[in-house]
Amino acid sequence: MTLEVGGITLAYGRTRVLHGIDLPPLAAGTVTALVGPNAAGKSSLLRAIAGQMRFAGTARLGGMDLAALGRRLASRRVAYLPQELPGRANLSVVEAILLAAKQDESLRVSEADLALVEGVLVDLGIAHLAGRGLNELSGGQAQMVSLAQALVRRPEVLLLDEPTSALDLRHQLEVLAHVGRVTQAHGTIVLAALHDLNLAARFADLVLVLREGRLHSAGTPAEVLTPAMLSEVYGVEAEVFRTADGGLVVQPLRPLPRRKPKTGPFAVERAA
């Protein structure tokens, strides 16, 4: 099973934010990191693949066009974790996750449903939050609950938009390690927008770099995360080290003088 994304073009009003993006095929059981500076189009690309926005181009899972599946069926196969955290509704955590699992199903909650929810909560280490209200959660806890809502649907594709933005260091590592384990165990295809390049280097099999709505480069972390890319895409002087265990560490040093953008959302803003 692979996810094939081709020719994705997307605009907000008259401002085009994605310009015909073609991704390499994303294989089952792999984690792909989507990186790039602010306004590069990472969230828009995820929203397009998730079917949340109208776009030109195709997103195929196992050869099947996701748009042709319809929203309900596609949402079962492709789970999308938006940046927005679940609201403050008077729902407990266990209800909020059950709600994600039971969407489009009968109103009766079976023992199997509860076992599924319990399994996800225990796996994520948040079983103790089950009875707590959504309005009582910290930002990090809400992000874990949001992730649990995506995982409980047992999707084939997991699209994560900044899944660790509200988490402390320890939980960033734990959540991504858990996503990695789920990916391995269920053969899930994971595409995660990440700001932290070191997390991308550590957990991703493949890194895609977006810049101004276009795919800049794609490859393994070692191939892509180079001082040259960091300079060109982020405008930052940086060093990249290899650790003893073969990992990569990106060490940003200083911002480079700003260059005048020729295209992309910032250029439009300035022209206006």
């Binding site: 929203r71 407990s92 209800e95 489009d104 929810v117 994520l124 280490g125 009582e136 809502q149 734990e174």
Partner: protein, 358 residues
């Protein structure tokens, strides 16, 4: 895996237990509201100038044929339709408010605060004063039809604004207030030019009155409520998901736009039919859902019935109060709901309790 501030000794296996406990509590709340409603209905049937006790009321209800004719007429022909109308209209307004708050994600949404009741009242007055009907061939349903069309128009205007980019919940409420003022001004103009008889009928609207309830009006309201509730029940998971935010709901496959539009149409139908028959009754649609939300949570499987029951109980109790203030005088319930509703609402929004809206 280590956890986010797990308390020492927290038991694994808790989620299923926590869920069962919650469900038990929520079922108990719904059962409690049913009991309160039953008690309120009995109280409503026993209160009134004829001075019938609970024993006489129960005797008539359980054995109408064997009951004393005078008591039978008072209970079955006068008090029962009014008492049941209070329950049905209370449920309609509260369900309408609950679903408006859900789809607009706004705690201040209700048919009254968003101008839907005012629009329905104006539509009805247009038919009463000028005989103008916006629905062709409405016949005897001229007034109700007008009320419905104007309620729908107001609801759609609010919906269109809520969908505009950058429209905040405050903007939506402000538009609602603008609609209330606009329709009230137009209503005042109609009252100014109305004949004495028409004016009297229009005043009925603005006060909110159960006095005109009869079995026919009750039947229409029951049919509408009975038709609308099952439609809501087909998508209770989706409605609950709307409160997680649009992006989250969409990611769960909820057809957000379609569900909103469908709910808005149903809510307008409920509000319009209720207002068309009993006039403008405020605060039930606002306070009923807040009570339900606090007591039964927002899983719509419990929130929807709890909202219906709390609204029904509120209006039923108001009906009792309306008869008890001055013996022999029945005050219009609209006045009482506003008088009682304001302090209740203030207590709800100013009280030290968790906030459920971002």
């Amino acid at each position: 895996m280590a956890v986010l501030a797990r308390p020492a000794g927290a038991a694994i296996g808790g989620p299923a237990l926590a869920y069962r406990r919650l469900v038990r509590r929520r079922r108990a709340v719904v059962a409690g509201l049913v009991a309160l409603l039953a008690a309120s209905l009995l109280l409503d049937l026993t209160s009134g100038p004829a001075g019938l006790g609970i024993g006489e009321v129960l005797a008539v209800l359980l054995d109408p044929a064997g009951a004393e004719p005078a008591a039978r007429v008072v209970i079955l022909d006068i008090r029962l339709p009014v008492a049941l109308m209070a329950i049905v209209v209370g449920a309609m307004l509260s369900v309408a408010g609950a679903e408006m708050q859900t789809i607009l994600n706004n705690p201040l949404a209700s048919p009254f605060t968003l101008g839907i009741s005012a629009a329905a009242g104006f539509g009805a007055a247009l038919a009463i004063v000028l005989g103008i009907g916006v629905l062709p061939f409405a016949g005897p349903l001229l007034v109700t039809g007008n009320a419905f069309v104007f309620a729908m128009a107001a609801a759609l205007a609010i919906f269109a604004l809520a969908r505009l980019r950058g429209a905040t919940t405050e903007t939506v409420v402000l538009l609602g207030i603008a609609l209330v003022f606009a329709f009230n001004a137009a209503l005042a103009l109609l009252q100014f030019i109305a004949t004495e008889r028409a004016l009297q009928e229009v005043v009925f609207w603005t006060l909110g009155n159960l006095g005109k309830a009869n079995w026919e009006r009750l039947a229409i309201c029951v049919v509408v409520l009975a038709a609308v509730l099952p439609v809501f029940m087909t998508d209770l998971w989706g409605l609950t998901a709307l409160r997680l935010g649009d992006a989250k709901a969409r990611s769960l496959g909820v057809p957000v736009e379609r569900l909103r539009l469908q709910a808005l149409i149903l809510v307008s139908l409920l509000a319009a039919v209720a207002v068309a028959h009993v006039g403008t009754i405020g605060f039930i649609g606002l306070v009923g859902p807040h009570i339900a939300r606090i007591l039964a949570g927002e899983d719509q499987r419990f929130f929807l019935p709890a909202s219906a029951l709390s609204g029904a109980a509120l209006l039923s109790l108001t009906s009792v109060v309306a008869k008890s203030i001055v013996p022999g005088v029945i005050f219009p319930v609209g006045i009482i709901t506003a008088l009682v509703g304001v302090p209740v609402f203030l207590a709800l929004i100013l009280g030290k309790r968790p906030q459920f809206f971002s």
